[in-house]
């Protein structure tokens, strides 16, 4: 078996997700090649060559792959996929954008967001927002798979794999990059943060979300919200954690003034440690929290900030 892993990278840097995808590839077993596609990605290729378990890094460095648009990336991967038994990418917005195109071009199914490798053909993946886990077996000769990073511990960096260039250049007349606006926050992204602190309807207003800032600063946390807080207009939609928002699984999740609707639990229940702060001791959030603190969040939050 041989596996092709699509490297995830941003701004000339290899993204951490790739080391998790290589770990999933190791669990499948076989030779592991990493494809780095983009423009001016030499440094990314060097970083990828350090990942343990990688046999070789293949580099497609061309302007047509800049910003990793789905159309040229899909065509490139479909061309390179021949000879591999598996093509893997991180279940990031890049992987999710590109890989289904590859699967369709190769006339095979895709397995999305696997969290466990049972064997080379069989995988576990969450369905219904993680409220059920499906074990799925694929009889396709090529398996196209996206990997949820939280399911696999990252591989280490003691390797020095060979790097070779790929000269395949595809045409793209259908799509063009216009611009990118990345959040100018010093805070980590919700989906990648090690600590997340979220506010719910109990916060009372958008203004009160400022009470979370100091704690987030001290913990290096991302700030999220429940759907109820978004629907009440306290904070924008992109902060929503839950089934129809972002799915997070940080080391520490702090739910403040969140009752714990199914919708919300679906988005955070795989967090390693959950803390709930709520004045209603009957709130369902306490049923999933490792540490619950019943009380008035307007008193608790300032005290917590001062004691961290």
């Amino acid at each position: 078996m041989s596996i092709l892993v699509l490297a995830e990278h941003h701004d000339g840097q290899l993204a951490g997700a790739t080391a998790h995808v290589v770990a999933a590839a190791k669990a499948i077993g076989g030779d592991i090649d990493v494809l780095v596609a983009g423009e001016n990605v030499g440094a990314v290729a060097e970083a990828a060559a350090k990942l343990d378990g990688v046999s070789k890094v293949r580099v497609a460095d061309n302007a047509v792959y800049a910003h990793q648009l789905a159309e040229p990336m899909g065509a490139l991967l479909a061309e390179l996929a021949d000879g591999y038994s598996h093509v893997l990418a991180a279940a990031t917005t890049t992987g999710k954008n590109v890989l289904p195109r590859v699967a369709a071009l190769k006339d095979v199914s895709q397995l999305s967001e696997i969290v466990e490798v049972v064997d080379a053909d069989t995988f576990k993946r969450p369905i219904y927002a993680g409220n059920a886990i499906a074990t799925v077996q694929s009889a396709d000769s090529l398996k196209v798979i996206t990997v949820r990073s939280t399911g696999f511990d990252a591989v280490g960096e003691g390797n020095s794999a060979a790097i070779e260039s790929v000269d395949t250049v595809v045409e793209n007349r259908q799509s063009a990059f216009v611009k990118q606006e990345l959040a100018q926050s010093d805070r980590p992204e919700l989906a990648a943060a090690k600590v997340v602190i979220s506010g719910g309807r109990g916060m009372g207003s958008g203004e009160n979300f400022k009470l979370l800032d100091g704690i987030a600063d001290k913990l290096g946390a991302a700030i999220g919200a429940s759907r109820a807080a978004v629907d009440a207009g306290f904070v924008p939609n992109d902060m929503q954690v839950g089934q129809t928002g972002k799915i997070v699984a940080p080391e520490l999740y702090i739910a403040v003034g969140i009752s714990g609707a199914i919708q919300h639990l679906a988005g955070m229940k795989d967090s390693k440690v959950i803390v709930a702060i709520n004045k209603d001791e009957e709130a369902p959030i306490f049923q999933v929290a490792d540490y619950g603190l019943v009380g008035d969040l307007f008193e608790i939050l300032p005290e917590l900030e001062s004691k961290l």
């Binding site: 917005t93 890049t94 289904p100 611009k179 929290a289 917590l304």
Partner: protein
């Protein structure tokens, strides 16, 4: 410009799902079903394009059992002009759905196809991208803004960490993210009117597509239950537990 919008019938997002006792699947007997939330956003966007005079006709399509016509009637009540039902009782995986939709695209020749980014049952997030590849069209996935400018489409996409804008040639495929719009509710008179709007029924065979899959669902389980922990009495105790017991701060 004709806009084709695909919708899927799924379990209502507020329902707590149950896994069947034999672990063969999720139990959908007597469970409230609804239009997938991301598909509602797709219908809303198509209808708004028509209200702005950009779209001339909105055609809703679904693939699924007889009962999925309820979701097509909902789309019609929200403002779609007519509907196509590809009727099948089979389990339709993303690739087969994309093949069926590619045939509908070939027949209907829409200028734009809008789909939800994922269905909240299987959470695959594949069909739109697969359709784009099969139809040889560009894609704007996870859209939070869609602007038609002449023969181009500007799509602002929600990507990890921010927003990306791409320009696509038309026809194109768009999949919706949460922030694209807030769907309206259907009004009673529109629900009544929707009953009279045209709804065509086809079979996968009519479209020349075999609904088969090389994926086998071996087992469906409930996730490991999270057991509730302890209540702490004070902020000091909480900080102490997080530092010394959980060791996460």
């Amino acid at each position: 410009m004709k806009v084709l919008v695909a919708v899927k019938r799924v379990i209502d997002y507020n329902v707590k799902i149950r896994v069947k006792a034999d672990h063969s699947d999720v139990d959908l007997t007597n469970v409230k079903m609804a239009m997938n939330p991301f598909c509602e956003i797709a219908v809303e966007e198509a209808v708004r394009l028509k209200e702005r005079g950009v779209a001339t006709e909105v055609v809703a399509v679904t693939i699924g059992p007889k009962a999925a016509q309820e979701q097509l009637r909902t789309a019609l009540a929200l403002g779609a002009d007519r509907a196509i039902h590809v009727e099948t009782e089979e389990r339709v995986e993303s690739l087969a759905a994309a093949k069926l939709l590619a045939k509908v695209v070939e027949e209907e020749q829409p200028g734009l196809v809008i789909l939800g980014k994922q269905a909240i049952d299987t959470d695959n997030n594949q069909t739109g991208q697969m359709l784009a590849a099969l139809a040889g069209l560009p894609q704007g996935t996870f859209a939070s803004e869609v602007v038609v400018e002449g023969d181009k489409l500007q799509v602002t996409r929600e990507i990890d960490g921010g927003l990306q804008t791409v320009s696509l040639s038309l026809p194109a495929i768009v999949t919706t993210d949460l922030r694209l719009n807030e769907p309206r509710y259907a009004k009673l008179p529109d629900i009544m009117k929707a009953k009279k709007k045209p709804l065509d029924v086809k079979s996968p065979a009519d479209l020349g597509v075999e609904v088969t899959s090389k994926l086998t669902l071996l087992k469906v389980e409930s996730p490991a239950e999270r057991k509730g922990g302890i209540k702490v009495g004070s902020v000091d105790e909480l900080v102490d537990k997080l530092k010394n017991e959980a060791k996460v701060i």
